[in-house]
Each structure stands twice: as structure tokens, then as C-alpha cells.
């Protein structure tokens, strides 16, 4: 499918909000791909981390929000530690998660979790998980 790119799209309110919430300039990314190269969770992702920034640059925020990638980011900071342009990708992912949940509600339904496993998890796993997956 051919995607239409326009000034309205690349300068959309969504892009502005993501930049504001994340505190990041998405245009700083020049797509060297180092984030994608080192991401330890990439195996589970449907898009690579740099492709997520790419979609935001193109103003295709909706596609970025649909991607499972944002939920698989563990904020491990590997990408940010090595980014040549100092783009804090974990913050961008956080902003996308917040936006996704504002639009669609929580990503985690506690009732659906495996009860047995639930009893096993350490406290911090819950707290962290709930903070990332719920509003």
C-alpha cells in the first residue's frame, strides 16, 4: 500500500505530543540502526526500535501505537547507552505507551494473568509491570 506523506502528517499534533512527553527530538535520529542492532528484546518485536522512531518521524503515530514493539521495550537502556545522537529511545517508548493507553486503555488485564505465576513474582515485577502496562 502506498502511504501518503504530507506536512500535516509529519507535523501532526501526535508527533508534537510524543516529543513533549518524551522530551526527545525525533528528528535527531539519523537511522544508523544501532538501537535495533543491540536491543535484547528485538526477537519479540514486530518492528525494530529504529522503525518505531521512523514511523513517528513520518507522522504515522497510529502505526507505531499499534506495534507490539512498544510493549516489549524493557527500558534496559542499552540503545540509549550507545546512541550516537543521544536519542533517549526508552523515553520515546514510554511516551508511546502512555499515548496508547490513553487511546485504548490498559495493556494489562490483571484478571487475565496466570494466578499461579502471579504468586511467584517478586513485588517489583508487579509494580514495574503495572506501571508500564496500566495508567
Amino acid at each position: 500500500m502506498r502511504v501518503t506523506i504530507s506536512v500535516e502528517q509529519v507535523r501532526s499534533e501526535w508527533v508534537r505530543r510524543i516529543e513533549e512527553v518524551s522530551g526527545q527530538d525525533v528528528m535527531a535520529c539519523y537511522h544508523c540502526g544501532k538501537c535495533s542492532a543491540g536491543c535484547p528484546a528485538a526477537e519479540a518485536m514486530d518492528l525494530l526500535p529504529n522503525q518505531i522512531i521512523r514511523l513517528v518521524q513520518l507522522g504515522q503515530v497510529e502505526r507505531a501505537l499499534e506495534s507490539q514493539t512498544i510493549w516489549y521495550c524493557a527500558a534496559c537502556q542499552t540503545c540509549y547507552a550507545r546512541c550516537p545522537k543521544g536519542v533517549d529511545l526508552p523515553r520515546l517508548m514510554e511516551a508511546l505507551r502512555e499515548l496508547a493507553m490513553q487511546k485504548r486503555g490498559d495493556h494489562l488485564e490483571i484478571a487475565r494473568l496466570d494466578v499461579q505465576a502471579l504468586a511467584e513474582f517478586p513485588q517489583q515485577a508487579f509494580i514495574a509491570g503495572f506501571r508500564k502496562y496500566t495508567t
Binding site: M1, R2, V3, T4, I5, S6, V7, V10, R11, D25, M27, A28, Y30, H31, N50, Q51, R54, L55, Q57, L58, Q60, K85
Partner: protein, 585 residues
Amino acid sequence: MPAKAKAHRIGLFVCHCGLNIAGTVDIPQVLDAFRDEPGVLVSVDYKYMCSEPGQELIRRKIAEEKLDGVVVAACSPTMHEATFRRNAESAGLNPYRVEIANIREQVSWVHAKDPDAATRKAIEVIRTIIEKVRYDEELLPFTLPVVRRALVIGGGIAGIQAALDIAAAGFPVLLVEREARLGGRMAQLSGTYFNFESAGDLLAQKLEALRARPEITVLTESEVESLNGYVGNFTVRIRRRGEDQPREESVGAIVVATGFDLYPLERLPEYGAGAVPDVISGLEMEAMLRPDGPTGGRILRPSDGRPPREVVFVQCAGSRDPQHAMPYCSKICCMYTAKQARLFRRQCPDGQAYVFYIDIRSGGKGAEEFVQAAMEEERVLYLRGKVSRIFRDGDKVMVWGADTLSGQQVEIAADLVVLATAVVPRQDARELAQRLRVGTDMHGFFNEAHPKLRPVESLTAGIYLAGAAQGPKDIPETLSQAGAAAAKVLSLFSRHELVQEPTIAWVDPELCSACQLCVPACPYEARRPHPWKPVVTVNAALCQGCGACAMVCPNKASKLRNYTPEQVLAMVDVLFAPAKAQEGT
């Protein structure tokens, strides 16, 4: 066979050239083959014969063994013949008794897969060259006067800089420009990409400096019609538009700085073939960005004169396309595109610039930072992918491209499209090259003598190259190259006379019948019938020793020094009957 004193104390020096030769050719076997060669007193090898220890080895052997001839089996004579001859001369041997057996370009490199055959061929090549040395005469070079005045062809920034640097040393310069005004392509530019300095201001400074130099004579609306002569003594015929008589000028050196053209839009059918008014070239964009340009510095669509809001820049329009257009990279487009996109955004704060690219080539000082700033400060959106199609759709220009980074096909309805069309040689570059007798590549860019170490010299002595006539380059590089060409001219002019190689043609008056077949055969116009004697004469200064005259001479009266028919026959003989030839010596 002539009864002259033949070389009979010959030294053979075989170079390994690291692994370049030794990796293929069996050097010990080669040395063995000449161990008992009559007249060959020395046969030794060394890793790099051209290095100081290698040269020292040759000098020592010449002295110790009183050698009267030397064969160096190594790389092509164009590389090191001069080196080895100079070296031998310093050891007291006549340099024209030194010959190169090319066992690299003509042996090891081309037969790398068959070492045995390569070794046999190396031996044969060396054998013939030894035969040649036996018959080599001891020659003396002669000198020619130098006209210390330069001709610069092309009045763009390259030509201006070269003229300035030559004139600064006090030498007269003739600057010939085809157009009515100096400045060339730089006069068409808006600003440079480092700091947006106005190209016009920069050019004005250079022109001011030019006017302050009494040594420089500017001939506008003029073209070089023909060239005769040789390094230090060229005669050039220049015709000014509208004048009947061309003027003839004497110069000692020439700098060719004729600049570039752009690949024509009409030859890019998928991009509208020049028929969509709002698809323009980079130079047309420059014109709009120039404060003194047709729009007073405002970017306006050619179709309706309105300012565009969305502008798409398409790089590699005709470049990096061996199938349809030019295979090479035009080098300057990435940077001027970034500059134009930034300038557009500064002019139109609510506008959006898009750049389609394959690779962003912002090499060079400050260039990468400049492009990054375009993305961050002007928020120019770079899209990695070559545009496939551009067409008009109402008052929009549709651009079909791809973003290979997100893996999507994209479409932009733009108001204006700027094509970074390929930098190509001037249309008539090849004709000029023929007139000047310098080489061009397959595209028509002038060829340098060596891509690494002799970037501003042509293969014709006394003719130097500067700027985009030699290949796409930006302004700083052009200025450096122009300065470099000037340095070569100044080196030449530091001497009052030049040394000329004596390995040229001569006419044996006993054999010449003055048939004059050789006169048109000579590509250097070095031959004239004698005013009253029935022979043809050779202008030694013009003769380059190519041998065309010897080929056509029915009487074998035209001969090349140290390439006589006897010599060549001896070389052939020894090749086909080595045993017999050996008996004969």
C-alpha cells in the same frame, strides 16, 4: 646489424614488488635462466627495487661490475623508468642504457592464476629487453626554452584561482572565458553550504583580486581554436566571438578549467522529462535562491509563481545509474540539496522539505554536522529510497518513492520538486580534449596523470587540470586543485629551459626520398619537408617518440632512437629462437 659498440656488461635486476610479482612469478627460476646469459654479468633480485636500498644495490653493482647496460624487471616503465634511469645516471651510466622489463602489469597481474606460464613469460620478456639493451645507444638529452606565461581555459572559480596563484608569483596569465562574464557556475549559485556565505560575495572578492593583478589578461567570449607546440612552447589560437581573425598567443603552460554541465532533465522521462514546470533542477533552484536572481531570492513555483509549501528534493537524478544515465556519484548534490532544503525552510517556516536519497554523502569537514542540522533544526525529512516516478496531478506534483527504512511505499503531493541532476562534463569537453591532445575518460572528464599522486597533471606535459572538468567536486576542493595546478605551472616557470627526452625520431638522409608520407602521419605536427633539400625534417621539440613515422616510412629512413628496426628484429629473433640468438652474440 650496426657495428656500434654494443653493451656487453649488462646487469639484470629483478624486483619482487612485494608479492605483486613474487607472489606469481618464480623469481629464483627467473634468475637461474640468466645465470649464464652471455653479456649479463649480474642477475640479482630485491623485494622493492625502487626503494633506496634497491637503488643503492643497482648503483653499487654498476660501479663494482662496470656495467654498461641495465635491465630492471619490475613494473610498467610509466611507473619507474625515470626513477631507475636517474639512479643509474648518478652512478655514471648513460640513462638510455637502462631499460625496464615489465613483468608486473604485463605478466604477474594478468597471469596470476597460472604461475608457471607467468614465470616463462617473465623470462621471455626479460630476454627481449636484454637484447634491446645490447643495441641501445648512449643518448644525451637536450634542452628547450620556456615561455613563462600561462593560459587558463575557463573563467569559473577554478580558472580564476589558478590565474590568481600564477599571477601572484609575477607571471603573466591569459584567462580565456567562453561566456561574456567571468564566474562560471559559481555565478549561478546562491550560497555555499558551510556557512551560507553568499556565493556572489565570495566570487566578487575573487574578481576584485583578479582585477588588481596587472599580470592577468582576461579574454571573454573567446574560445581556444587550436593548440600547437609542446611544454614550455605552446602556440594557441584563440577566437573571439564576432571577430574574423583568431589571435595567436605563445604560452608555456596551460590550465584546463572548463567546468561542468548538468544532466538534462529531458533525459529523465520517469521524472517528467522536463515537461512538468514545477520539476526543476538544482541550478534552477539556486537561481531562485540568489538575491540578485530572477525572483529576487524568493522561491516561487514556475507554473503559477506561488510560493511552494511542500518541496521534495530528489537526489541521484541521473547519478549512480549505470543502466540509464551516469554510473558515478556526482559528489556535490547531497550537500547542496541539504543547503537548499534548509534555505527553503528558513524562507517558509510552515513549509516542509523532503529529501529522497540512497546514501547521504556528507563527507568532508563540517559536512556531516551541516546535514544533521538540516534534520534537527529545519526538520527536513530524509527518506531513504530513490524516487520512481514524478507526475503532474492538478496543481500538485506527485512523487512516488519508498522509505526503505520503514519498508513502505510513499507518495507525496508536492508543490515543487527539485532534481539533483548529475554533474556531467561540458558538452564539448571531448572536442577540446582532442584539440589539446589530452585524454578523457568514457564520460568526457579530463584524465589526470595518476589518480592518487598526480591529480592535477594531465598526461600531456605542460597541461594541467583544475575543477569539475576533471570530475565532480565542490568549491573547496576545486580551489585546492586550482592552487595545485598553479604550483605545477610555477615549478615549470621556475626554470628557463626544459630538458627533453632524446628518444625521438630522426630521418636518415641517405634513405629518405622525401615522399612525405610521414608528414600527415605525425600526430604532433613535428614533421616538415626541408625547404630545399629532398628530405623531411623532425622538430625535436614536438616529437614525442611515438613511432608513427617509422611505421609509414617505406624506406626505413624514419627511425626512433633506441627503437631501430634492427633492434626490434633482434628482440623478435631472440623471442622465437633464443638459442640461435645467443649463439649470435
